[in-house]
């Protein structure tokens, strides 16, 4: 390629020679790629899927964020200033009820003062609360988002809703609903129905509205009523509103108006600009959700790409091994190490560029498809142009190239190291794998990883330590793979050999041929299956914990519970428990409501209830002190929480409420089991002055002796029809329905993991295809001496099954272990349950093995199509 140059040639000459050499590697690399397109099909698909998933997630996230932003900005465009209570109490931790930002209502009397501020064009009090619409059929409208009720605002520009049909509410009981809610609830103008606030209110639909130009504010259902109704049903007392909205006259900026309005406000109230308010609404309504959603998707794209990395690395390693002779010949003919390395990298780069570019296009396609799909499956996400930001292209591009080139790097270096004499030797497969050094390193890592994981999970619990241990354990599995694969394949393959005779034992031995390759192939699947198992174990443990809590804690006969998942639901009417209590079948009935307050400066959820009745219907364990007379001066605290805060019966606890008042309570009782009761109990009388809109989340009911569950349940069901017919559940039904959200979540996770598993299976198929290619001559020989096509196909398929079984079994083991660690490490109170669900895990194993059979399908078919003579004659 370079003409003979004299020794000591000019620098320029040597530079041109080296670029010429570089071009040669590129040419050789590309020729290799062209000649073996099929070998890289798997790599291409793996990178493509991973990049497409990532790019799709990012584009979709940006698009949704932009659409929601526009939606809220448009809807609030008329509002320049918002007045609200300055104090906010946010309860941390999971649980039902008003978690985020509970504020004190604003007195509507301020409206007049604000109207007098120069530059104010319009003012309106805004009342907002929870209101669940009951459908035409008497059942609550099942919502996927918040259920909002409020006063219909007539001031133009201050109402984000636009009347499109009918008229605004004028008389008591008249409401306007948003179009999406009307459609889903089967409600039309003139229809009478119930609005649960959560007390049932008889209403008549008199108008239909849109939010901006959309049928609804995302998933939210809206019911607008007269201001008098809203004050009566949604506010603790008349003369109060949630916020006050102000619009500026011409020439006044939001900032100016807000500053002027702020001056006339008494203490404890604040004014913010309309922009800030709409940003905050967006953040709390959709932003937080979108962040979680896109983060989740990104994590799973990451898992898919990790799995892809293993598959791609394996492909390159095999291709380089198969090309040993060719590379050695190049080296013998004078190619430098760098040139051989360069030609391999050139091949990788070409695949990377093509696959990543295709992946980006695919990602945009996915985002566009999903955008079109959401409305079709009933998610009224706002419309908006597809947002393709630079970052959403640059990140997947960089990740795709990095994954591809990074995976090819070590095989390329190995290619460069090929000794020229290898051209003359018979090329032998690399049977190494179980080297001592590898075993030693792997074992040390495994011991350290497992010790840290177990240590972090059991003693402490210490989540960071467990996480570090988990990563080390995973690394150990990867390192030990080749060592373990010989043993594992021998064990797992034994039944195959026994069942399928010589075909089976040939399959098993083929899987044993190159432990490193088998391990790398299986590792990809192992990671996917491990993540699936972690979530399966986690989900089962969460369900078991819920069951256990209900089982231990619930001492009644039936329960009525508010919707536990989704942001929606107005909860249960506090009157429900008292109505039910009057039934002759019912012995006892108690409602549990939710309140928030700051205890020593930290936001906490309070259970608002009748503590004496509660202690008869929930098992609170041992109680120190008395629950019977908490009254308005005492609260009760669960033992764990009391210990943490250094409280005991008789201690003083100051509570600060959202209205800014601070009240000193005494701990009247300490109970052992928090369970369904929660950490703090407060009487309804004590809560009353600080309430905004009361609701119960659970009503527990106990029947009189001699009343059968069926009888009692029928009576209660009949009695609650006036409340929108919430489900009356037995103890086990209640436990199951509490866990329903977990199943939904698991389904979503499985769907997301399917991609990673698919990539892993493509990896198996690809490795097999390469192996079949490599063994062409041997396969021809087998066919010549009498192996039928069917037997050959079975042999390849069973090899695939054995490798898949190895990966699946490893993944199940690793996943179950890490699932256990995660359950323990996140269980601070030590009351959580750990469950290994045998059936789902057996299904995972079965699916893994079956998928292995599927992955072997194409390679097996290709192998069986081999022409015997060609195979024998193959060089």
């Amino acid at each position: 390629m370079n003409s003979p140059t004299r020794a000591g040639g000019t620098p320029a000459g040597s530079r041109s020679a080296s670029t010429g050499a570089g071009r040669a590697s590129l040419r050789i690399g590309l020729a290799g790629l062209r000649a073996h397109k099929r070998r890289f099909a798997g790599t291409f698909v793996a990178v493509f899927l991973g990049v497409a998933f990532l790019a799709g997630t990012m584009v979709m996230g940006d698009t949704l964020r932009a659409s929601f932003g526009k939606l809220f900005a448009d809807a609030n465009s008329g509002t320049d200033t918002v007045v609200r209570g300055a104090d906010e109490v946010t309860a941390s931790g999971p649980g039902p009820g008003p978690g985020q930002g509970t504020r004190e209502p604003v007195p509507t009397g301020l409206v007049d003062a604000i109207r007098k501020v120069p530059g104010v064009a319009a003012v309106a009090p805004v009342i907002e609360g929870a209101g669940e619409l009951v459908k035409a059929d008497g059942k609550s409208l099942d919502t996927r988002g918040p259920t909002v009720a409020g006063n219909w605002i007539d001031e133009p520009g201050l109402n984000p809703y636009k009347l499109v049909e009918g008229h605004a509410p004028k008389a008591p009981g008249e409401i306007v609903v948003n179009r999406d809610a009307a459609r889903r609830g089967g409600l039309e103008i003139g229809d009478r129905t119930l609005l649960r606030t959560p007390d049932p209110v008889h209403v008549t639909v008199v108008g239909v509205a849109t939010f901006g130009n959309e049928d609804g504010e995302g998933q939210t259902t809206y019911a607008g009523m007269t201001r008098a109704d809203a004050e009566r049903y949604l506010m603790p007392k008349p003369g109060e509103a949630t916020t006050i909205k102000v619009r500026a006259g011409p020439g006044i900026s939001q900032q100016q108006l807000t500053e002027r309005v702020a001056k006339v406000l008494p203490a404890h109230y604040e004014a913010i600009t309309g922009t800030q308010a709409s940003d905050e609404t967006q953040e709390s309504t959709s932003g937080a959700f979108l962040d979680i959603f896109t983060t989740l998707l990104t994590v799973f794209a990451g898992i898919a790409l990790l799995v892809a990395t293993f598959s791609i690395h394996n492909t390159f390693a095999i291709v380089v091994a198969q090309r040993t002779r060719e590379n050695a010949l190049l080296r013998a003919l004078g190619a430098t190490r760098r040139q051989v390395l360069g030609s391999t990298m050139a091949e990788a780069a070409a695949v990377a560029v093509l696959a990543t570019a295709a992946g980006l296009l695919g990602g945009i396609g996915i985002a566009a498809g999903l955008q079109a799909l959401f409305p079709a499956v009933g998610f009224p996400f706002p419309k908006g142009a597809l947002q393709i930001h630079v970052l959403a292209l640059a990140v997947p591009l960089a990740v795709g190239l990095l994954v591809c080139l990074g995976s090819a790097a070590s095989p390329a270096v190995r290619a460069g190291r090929t000794a020229p004499v290898a051209a003359l030797r018979e090329s032998a497969t690399d049977t190494s794998g179980g080297s001592r050094r590898r075993a030693a390193i792997g074992l040390c890592t495994a011991v350290a990883g497992v010790a840290m994981t177990v240590g972090g999970a059991a003693a402490g619990p210490n989540l960071p330590l467990t996480a570090l241990g988990a990563v080390l354990t995973l690394a150990a599995f990867v390192v030990l793979g080749p060592v373990a694969s010989s043993v594992a394949v021998r064990v797992l393959g034994a039944p195959v050999g026994r069942l399928r005779g010589v075909t089976g034992s040939l399959a098993r031995r083929n899987a044993l041929r190159s432990p490193k390759r088998t391990a790398a192939t299986a590792t990809a699947l192992m990671i996917g299956v491990a993540v699936v198992s972690v979530f399966t174990v986690l989900g089962a443990s969460m369900k078991a914990t819920l069951n256990q809590t209900v089982d231990r804690s619930f001492a009644g006969d039936v329960a009525i519970s508010a919707q536990v998942y989704g942001a929606g639901g107005a909860g249960l009417s506090p009157q429900l428990a008292t109505t039910v209590a009057e039934l002759p079948e019912v012995q006892d009935s108690v409602g549990l409501g939710v309140g928030v307050a700051e205890v020593d400066g930290a936001g906490r959820r309070l259970t608002v209830t009748d503590p004496a009745a509660l202690s008869r219907l929930l098992d609170l364990g041992k109680v120190q002190g008395s629950l019977a007379h908490l009254g308005t001066t005492q609260i009760a605290v669960a033992k764990d929480e009391a210990d943490k805060r250094g409280l005991a019966a008789g201690s003083r606890v100051p509570l600060t409420f959202a209205d800014g008042t601070r009240v000193d309570f005494t701990v009247g009782a300490v109970y052992d089991q928090a369970g369904l009761a929660g950490n703090y109990l407060i009487s309804r009388a004590a809560w009353e002055p600080h309430r905004v809109q009361d609701k119960d989340t659970l009503v527990a009911i106990d029947f009189r002796d001699g009343v059968s569950t069926a009888q009692g349940k029928a009576a209660v069901t009949e009695a609650v029809t006036a409340f929108g017919s919430p489900d009356v559940q037995t103890k086990s039904e209640y436990a199951t329905s509490s866990a329903a959200g977990i199943d939904t979540f698991l389904t979503l996770i499985y769907a997301l993991l399917a991609l990673a598993v698919l990539i892993a299976l493509l990896g198996i198929a690809n490795t097999l295809t390469l192996a079949v290619h490599e063994r062409t001559r041997e396969l021809g020989l087998l066919r010549a001496v009498g192996q039928t096509r069917g037997q050959l196909r079975a042999m390849v398929r069973w090899e695939s099954v054995v490798v898949a079984a190895f990966g699946t079994a490893g993944g199940l083991g690793l996943g179950t272990f890490l699932g256990w660690a995660l359950v323990k490490a996140t269980d601070g109170s030590g009351t959580g349950a750990f469950a290994v669900p045998p059936l789902p895990l057996a299904v995972v194993l079965l699916v893994g093995v079956a998928a292995g059979m599927l992955a072997g399908w194409r390679p097996a078919r290709r192998a069986a199509r081999l022409d015997i003579l060609r195979a024998i004659a193959t060089e």
Binding site: A428, G501, V502, T503, L506, R509, N510, L512, R513, R777, E778, L781, L782, R783, A784, V785, G786, Q787, T788, R789, G790, Q791, I868, L869, I872
Partner: protein
């Protein structure tokens, strides 16, 4: 060892077609490619391989020896003409039937890469039987192992054997199922003269002690001299035959191919042996 002859069962020398050939091709032509690029690898060959005899096929490189053998053994199909194993015409068989026929009635020895690397010597020997799900005749296999002299190597992998040992295993495998015909394509091509001699002696014993039929392609006149007869191919045609060959006579005949261009079609169509 001598018991091998007495004990053998199954299709023996008498099991061939009425004319006493274990395998034959009639008017066989094989064309590779089409149009200008077409190559007539076989051009009207008729030849029968008599049962219970050791036949060698010779000829210059590219003369069609391998092609003839592949077609006669059912590894490849003819463009025209017919190929027979005993009384079965191969052209009428589908892939599966051909596979079963190969597994039950034919044995193969190739020049190299005869053995499956993942299987031990013993497993390689019984491979065709295992594939057929047939129970190997333990005594027969045992005797075979002794004949090929590999008793102490049964648990070894092919990669642990020398080239000659590998070929001996291949011969044992070819005979394990007591096939009617054993086809061997340059079985000694990669071996030195001593190992080659051992392999040829084995093939000879298969014919003379065990009553098998062996057809062998070779380049080596010394190897051909182990055969009972030699057929010569040139340019895809049968050009000569020789009974009771010696290395010298074969060498002389081969030299004739090099020195003078071949003309005409001698013995065309009449290439049956007596």
């Amino acid at each position: 060892m001598s018991g091998l002859t007495a004990r053998h069962t199954g299709p023996g020398p008498a099991a061939g077609a009425e004319d006493g050939t274990a395998a034959r091709v009639v008017d066989a032509a094989k064309v590779y490619g089409t149009g200008d690029a077409a190559v007539r690898a076989l051009d009207g060959v008729t030849v029968g391989f008599p049962a219970g005899r050791f036949t060698a096929i010779m000829g210059p490189s590219g003369s069609g020896k391998s092609t003839l053998m592949h077609c006669a053994a059912g590894l490849d199909s003819l463009s025209s003409g017919s190929a027979w194993i005993g009384g079965t015409e191969l052209g009428t068989l589908g892939d599966r039937q051909l596979t079963l026929l190969r597994r039950e009635r034919i044995g193969f020895v190739f020049q190299a890469f005869n053995l499956v690397p993942t299987l031990t010597v013993a497993e390689n020997v019984t491979l065709p039987l295992d594939l057929a799900g047939r129970r190997p005749d333990a005594e027969w296999i045992d005797a075979l192992i002794d004949v090929v002299g590999l008793r102490d190597r049964l648990r070894h992998r092919p990669s642990e054997l020398s080239g000659g040992q590998q070929q001996r295993v291949a011969v044992a495998r070819a005979l394990a199922g007591r096939p009617e015909v054993v086809f061997a394509d340059e079985p000694t091509g990669n071996l030195d003269s001593r190992s080659g001699g051992e392999v040829l002696a084995l093939l000879g014993r298969a014919v003379h002690d065990m009553g098998r039929t062996v057809v062998m392609v070779t380049h080596d006149p010394v190897a051909a001299a182990h055969a009972d007869e030699v057929v010569f191919l040139a340019d895809g045609r049968l050009v000569d035959m020789m009974t009771a060959p010696t290395a010298g006579r074969v060498l002389d005949r081969m030299k004739a191919f090099d020195t003078k261009a071949f003309d005409g079609r001698p013995a065309g169509g009449g290439g049956t042996s007596s």
